[in-house]
């Protein structure tokens, strides 16, 4: 969720000085934004420092990412101003950008527009730069899909070209630098720049870099990295040339429309934008910005039904007006013109949300729905609860360990070998602790004992949770399995104690221990040489169900080397079984 910083005094003045911070916080809550902080509330401001409001904006509301847009939307919401209409200035011979065919290899799309006779000051300039950063970051997906370049039009000469050239073939002085650099040098230079460094990967591997040139072959920008110092915008800039390069046509249009609708307010002819023509190698040409508006047709019945209110057509039109939505009634329908500033609106449910906000979420009548449905637990969870309660009643304490762990903890530390068919491996873990999904609960229990050295022995802990196994027969190639694991740690290993708990659990599930091994519902142990246990002190736990035999898991005295690997100094006996066969 992006956060914007706005000047408190300016904002409150724009809204007619009717709010204090607390009242404004309430307005934000109602409108769906969040006043995170008022810097004047936290201690003294420095001499001459102006109070800032930090406001969280929902990720879909690009139109609220700057002072200009936020005040306009709140102004309309409070009924202090009317909905703004935006225009493309009629121009017979617009500035042109010609796209070279090589651009398709690296960054195929470009759009442009001109803000004519604009009046900047320090606050507007900062707001303009901040909005570009926010759009590049959020809408542009960290400049990968969209990146904005803005230039002082009076320092360059149209027509412009958008080309893709070899790194060694371009030369310019980047923004705020004095050294002329070629493409290779730029990569090297900005490797040390905290901010730009993060974007180098976008074009680094491409044999050609995208460049915007003016008619005199002056480099204007190397998107998505940096503009040239030559065409940089200053507080004195009168005419702004905007070019936005992109991988995605929908998003680049969104970015351009947001930028020009927000800042054309400062033009001599407010809310009017001068177009730029873009000509592609196949001869097709487009004129930007594209201010063609779409409409959504909906009905009062639908909108009332979603929100849970009963409003007439005209009342709905009036409420939508508060959200800067122009709507009109046509026969039984309500036709809503989608504002250029609201590309997040895709269909009528988006209108319903705005209607709900305009009406007030907390004023919606609360009506219980009385459709009867039947509650039911999931069988595996019901079974799990039986086993959990049984173990706790038997004197064991439940732990809840993490399902991600280090590879070694699941294999090497347990003297087990990874044959590659068992565990799910993560691609991008930040730490060693998150390398794989565990296939056994035991490592988590051993680590719990390690972390509780001061707890008096005997330590008796258990867990009934999911582990994950690879399973190529499933849609996802993996599935969970519900395991139960318990251990006994004391000055002696006492196999018979942990075995006693296993007996109790089995009895609670209606399985008799040690009956006729081949018949009935019974469980038994078969001696097995399992590397994680002490030789001669380990067995497989088998379930026999009318002749069908299933291996449930293992039981034994933990091998001293395993104890050593987990930094444990007490003998431990344990069992771990799969409880799914009892479903």
């Amino acid at each position: 969720m992006p956060t914007i910083h706005v000047d408190k005094e300016d904002l409150f003045e724009y809204l007619g000085n009717q709010f204090n911070t607390e009242e404004f916080r309430e307005l934000c809550f109602e409108f769906g934004i969040e006043l995170e902080e008022d810097t004047s509330e936290k201690g003294e401001l420095a001499e001459g420092e102006r109070a800032q409001l930090k406001i969280d904006i929902p990720a879909n509301r690009y139109d609220l990412l700057c002072f200009e847009g936020l005040t306009r939307a709140l102004g309309v919401f409070l009924g202090r101003e009317s909905i703004t209409n935006y225009h493309v200035a009629p121009t017979s011979n617009p500035h042109r950008i010609t796209v070279a065919k090589e651009c398709s290899q690296v960054r195929p799309l470009i759009v442009g527009a001109i803000l004519r006779n604009i009046k900047l000051d320090a606050a507007r300039y900062k707001s303009f730069i901040d909005l570009q950063d926010k759009l590049n970051q959020n809408l542009g997906h960290k400049r990968e899909l969209v990146s904005i370049g803005t230039h002082d039009l009076d320092t360059v000469q149209g027509p412009f070209t958008y080309e893709a050239v070899k790194p060694e073939d371009l030369k310019f002085v980047p923004l705020e630098q004095t050294e002329e650099m070629d493409g290779h040098r730029i990569m090297e230079f900005y490797e040390k720049d905290k901010k730009i460094k993060k974007f180098l990967h976008i074009i680094e591997k491409s044999p050609v870099y995208p460049v915007v040139y003016d008619a005199n072959r002056t480099v204007m920008s190397l998107p998505p990295l940096i503009n040239s110092n030559h065409s940089k915008i200053t507080l004195d800039t009168k005419n702004i040339f905007i070019e936005i390069t992109a991988m995605d046509m929908t998003k680049v249009n969104m970015a351009l429309n947001i930028l020009v609708t927000m800042f054309s307010v400062h033009c001599k002819e407010p809310f009017t934008v001068e177009p730029v023509e873009v000509v592609y190698p196949d001869g097709k040409s487009f004129v930007y910005p594209d201010f063609e508006t779409k409409s959504i047709t909906t009905t009062a019945k639908y909108l009332n039904g979603i929100v849970g209110i009963e409003k007439s057509n005209s009342e709905i039109v009036e409420l939508l007006q508060k959200m800067s939505l122009e709507a009109k009634v046509e026969q039984d329908s309500i036709v809503v013109k989608l504002p250029l500033t609201r590309p997040d609106m895709l269909q009528e449910c988006d209108i319903a949300e705005d209607l709900a906000i305009a009406f007030g979420y907390n004023r919606i009548p609360r009506v219980q729905n009385n459709e009867a449905t039947v509650g039911a637990p999931l069988p595996i969870n019901k079974l799990t609860d039986i086993v959990r309660r049984e173990m706790a009643m038997a004197g064991w304490t439940e732990v809840l360990t993490l399902s991600l762990c280090a590879h070694d903890e699941n294999f090497k530390f347990l003297r087990r070998e990874d044959k590659g068919d068992e565990v799910v491996v993560l691609a991008n873990p930040e730490t060693l602790e998150n390398q794989i999904c565990r296939s056994l609960l035991l490592p988590g229990l051993l680590k719990t004992v390690r972390e509780n050295k001061r707890y008096p022995i005997p330590i008796k802990v258990f867990e009934v949770s999911d582990v994950v196994y690879k399973d190529p027969t499933t849609e996802r190639g993996a599935r969970n399995r519900r395991h139960a694991c318990a251990l006994y740690a004391s000055d002696e290993a006492r196999f018979e104690i942990i075995q006693g708990l296993l007996d109790t659990v089995m009895e609670s599930l209606g399985v008799a221990p040690y009956c006729n091994k081949q018949q009935g519902h019974a469980y038994y142990l078969v001696e097995a040489d399992l590397p994680m246990y002490l030789p001669g002190r380990s067995a497989k736990v088998m379930l026999s169900d009318n002749g069908n035999t299933v291996e449930l898991g293992t039981i034994g005295i933990i091998h001293p080397e395993v104890l050593f690997n987990f930094e444990l100094k007490v003998p431990i006996s344990s069992f771990e079984i799969n409880i799914e066969p009892f479903l």
Binding site: P58, I306, R366, G375, G395, L404, E451, D466, R476, A478
Partner: protein
Amino acid sequence: MVGEFPPLSSQVNNKDTIKDLKRRKLIKVNKLLSYAVSKGANFSTTLKKQATDLTMEMLQSGSWKTEEFKKFNFDSLGINPSGGHLHPLLKVREEFRQVFFETGFEEMPTSNFVESSFWNFDALFVPQQHSARDLQDTFFLKDPEVANSLPDFWERVKNVHENGGYGSIGYRYSWSKEEAKKLVLRTHTTAISSQMLNKLAQSPYRPAKYFSIDRVYRNEAVDATHLAEFHQVEGVIADKNMSLGSLIAFLDMFFKKMGMSNLRFKPTYNPYTEPSMEIFSYHEGLGKWLELGNSGMFRPEMLRSLGLEDGVQVAGFGLSLERPTMFKYDISNIRELLGHKVDLNMIATNPACRLDKKMGREALQKGSA
């Protein structure tokens, strides 16, 4: 009675002289105590042993009638019983499950931590360039890397992303099947909800309520309140008459059962719900509004491509299990609750969970927090 040692035969009264002698280690200071003892009211020359406990022998012989019992110290602690204990987080889970059962919810099969991007994102109408799908936010898998298959309606999902439909203009970008097949550790249990809704759509319409409480994963910075894995509580209500008003009424009733009666709602943004609401509750003890969770009406782009017929509305809500638990049990670091760094004493000594009663920080008086 404390007496004084008789004076020395040759008295030295000069303090400086004593100090001087002490410094030269020629004298040593000794303190002597003496006691004077006299007969009390219960003086006896025979020994009478006081009984400490009632024994079987006393019952048999009847000696308990004449036995004198030693005065009991009621300020001492009893002996710990040797029974086991359930984990506090799962005690809170149990309370939540009970509330869900009471209100007619069916538990969803959430036993798959590994999920395809398709179910986790695409089917929920989360666009493929959404930041939640970045490596910095989500755990992707190396082995296995991609799903073996996608459900048969994947083309409906592709189409609604690319071109819209069901009244929507869509996101208008080029949707990639390869991207959808990438496996992730699920970032929310809504991945399962969408499968349940897809299943629900296979048979004629009926109202349904589903819930789950299970683990989800985020590849985020880890701190005192965030781990890479946590438990999500999620509820889904499918009903033709569902509206924001009835969702609010339901949440009112749901949270009231947990002792939270003063709720209010804030508009918010979720890629798969519209309208969306954050749920807040006013906390008397802390004197402020606390965010409880998120909720909203699922988007038609998602519901229609899952196969639900036009007119079926589905509301969803979710919250983390850890947050209310840490609050109830007054735990400030999530590692003290979940994982192997937990203190076994904490598990053994914490109270039973009664969500409708004040516990932990909640029980604090107003202004004392």
